[in-house]
């Protein structure tokens, strides 16, 4: 177990390291002057030169990379123009926003978390529930409705569903407010009201996929010997389905769910754009359009971090659920 964790963590660090080198190379080696992107059009050459020096862009590339990495782990001094000393998870300074990148991330991350976590609970519950019910009622109308739902959802585009939801619930019926973000602790009702359409859109599309997968898994599991054994020894149906079959059927879904949630935490780009919510994804898009390199780099790294952590979490969960897996 310890050995497994150690090996996975090392591999994860290696992967994150490779991601960081790659993104760094992409932005700093490509012949796009990062400074002119940070400065409005009327920048004079002296100011450009000064910015370049302050950012350390005249240093060798490897020094720039090392300084950046050092900033993440122990913090570093960025110079007075960039707000002086930058504490430990230092991801650089954004000239576009005029603040340290880590502060922007700290501000937008709760938005993405508030979108993803409730949506994930909704889509897992709805998807797996629907899949189980339709597997147990194979061939009935319930099954057919569930199949239709999952086939439709799996082929729809998020921005289209989002647009239709906005059109119907906000503009036509006026039931849902225009999407916005209020911190949960400030006003829970407003928090939920502002995000409910985003949750519904995400939950609809994702639960379609999970309904499909969990139905298939459950159908397969129900034909296995241990289910027949459980029935033969006289267990009530609720025990057979709820305890024996469900656990076996749900295991493969854990992998997919973990990866989906990890990827979503890195920025639900399309959801955030469609509903106009300022989370990590929308920040990344904004940074790309503004040419804000430190910001782009940070969003890529944060997103990769979530995916890598999700992968490890999935392996651990897998071992916890499936007794056959030994780490």
């Amino acid at each position: 177990m310890t050995r497994f964790l150690l090996r996975r963590s090392l591999l994860a660090i290696l992967t994150l390291f490779a991601v960081s080198v790659l993104t760094f190379l992409m932005f700093f080696v490509l012949p796009r002057d990062p400074v002119s992107g940070m400065c409005p059009k009327n920048c004079n050459p002296e100011r450009l030169e000064r910015v370049r020096r302050e950012l350390g862009l005249s240093d060798p590339k490897i020094d720039q990379y090392l300084a950046y990495m050092k900033g993440i782990f122990v913090g570093r001094d960025l110079g007075s123009a960039q707000g002086g000393h930058c504490d430990a998870p230092c991801l650089g300074y954004s000239y576009v926003n005029n603040e340290p990148v880590s502060e922007t991330i700290a501000r937008v991350l709760p938005v993405t978390l508030s979108i993803v976590i409730p949506a994930a609970i909704l889509w897992l519950g709805l998807g797996i529930g629907l899949g189980m019910v339709s597997a147990l009622r194979q061939g009935t109308w319930v099954d057919r409705v569930a199949i239709g739902f999952s086939l439709t959802g799996a082929s729809l585009q998020l921005y289209f569903v989002g647009g239709v939801l906005l059109l119907v619930f906000t503009y036509q019926l006026g039931i849902a407010p225009v999407p916005h973000y209020t911190p949960l602790l400030e006003n829970p009702a407003d928090w939920a009201g502002g995000l409910v359409l985003a949750w519904l859109a995400l939950a609809f599309l994702f639960s379609a996929i999970y309904a499909r997968l969990s139905r298939a898994q459950m159908v397969e599991t129900l034909s296995e010997d241990f289910v027949r054994t459980a029935r033969a020894k006289g267990l009530p149906n609720s025990q057979v389905y709820g305890r024996h079959a469900l656990r076996a059927a749900i295991t493969p879904l854990v992998t997919i769910a973990g990866i989906d949630i990890g990827a979503a935490l890195g920025g639900t780009v399309i959801t955030e754009i469609t509903f106009g919510l300022q989370g990590l994804g929308r920040t990344a898009v904004g940074a790309v359009h503004a040419g804000d390199l430190p910001m782009i780099m940070a969003t890529v790294l944060v997103a990769a971090f979530f995916i890598v952590v999700a992968n490890i979490a999935v392996d651990l969960l897998y071992a916890a659920i499936d007794p056959r897996v030994r780490l």
């Binding site: 992967t15 796009r32 439709t152 585009q157 399309i270 754009i273």
Partner: protein, 331 residues
Amino acid sequence: MKTRAKAIPDVGPITAAQEFVGRSPGRFAWERLRRDRTAIVTGSMLAAFLVIALAAPLIELLYGIGPHEQFQHELDSFGMPLGVAGGISGEHWFGLEPGLGRDIFIRMVYGLRTSLVIAISAATITTTLGVVAGVVAGYLGRWSDTVIGWLIDFALAMPFLIVALAVAPTVALRFYDERDEVPAEFQAIVLVTIFAVFGWAGTARLVRGQVISLREREFVDAARASGAGVGHILFRELLPNLWAPILVSYSLAVPAYITAEAALSFLGIGMLEPTPDFGRMIDRSLGYLQTDPAYVFFPGITIFAVVFAFNLFGDALRDALDPRSSRSPLP
């Protein structure tokens, strides 16, 4: 996915009467596919979409309106199309775009072309790369497996959408000035390249797993014992047993790339104006959600129909190729 005993190639009956015609697994699959109603319907839909995409210039000729023509005189002073539901008429079947006044129908015909060309080339390239990488890693094992395995993990750990978001505009700036118009072909090549860099890993992982379970089988041992080279074993012995999962993953990769391409274009980093594209159309239409709701429905429903048909066809194909792994939710 389980492997089956069809690994043994069809050598024909030895003692059976001559008139008995041996049927290959492919032949069986084809017959199962032909009997599947879903496969027939979705297959014909896909064929129709392909024909429309390929014949776009011909349709333009018959329809009499080009994708870049503007009909400003048919818009009101706010730039909204005159007439019902976004200006639907005998002349403009799906109405006009608000603002620019371009014909929606012909832009969708060309948009289908953009979408399918990119998705099919991306799927073909990623599948080829994935198969080669997966076969090499699975069969040769050792360090090549370690390296490719790590590359697979790495490619899957990259946050695809965000990296694509960061790379696509940067690459264009490498070759074109900020003020230049980036040609559509260039942008399409960039998109296909991005898909190829990230997309091969999924197929590679699938193929690698299959190869590992096949390489210890008797027929591979037999080939090796009779002195077959690595190339022969890989491509003549193993590959024919892999085409079923590869074909299925290919048929499901195409709709995935249609979705991905539209998503990138929706975010403004895929295909750019004035190239007709579903993602861009939906992006534009969201701005007119309150004033011209009909605009969002045509591209939204068309792309849904295309992806839906591909997904259903992929499922039917899986059932036909591997009836035992009938995991599709279709009864």
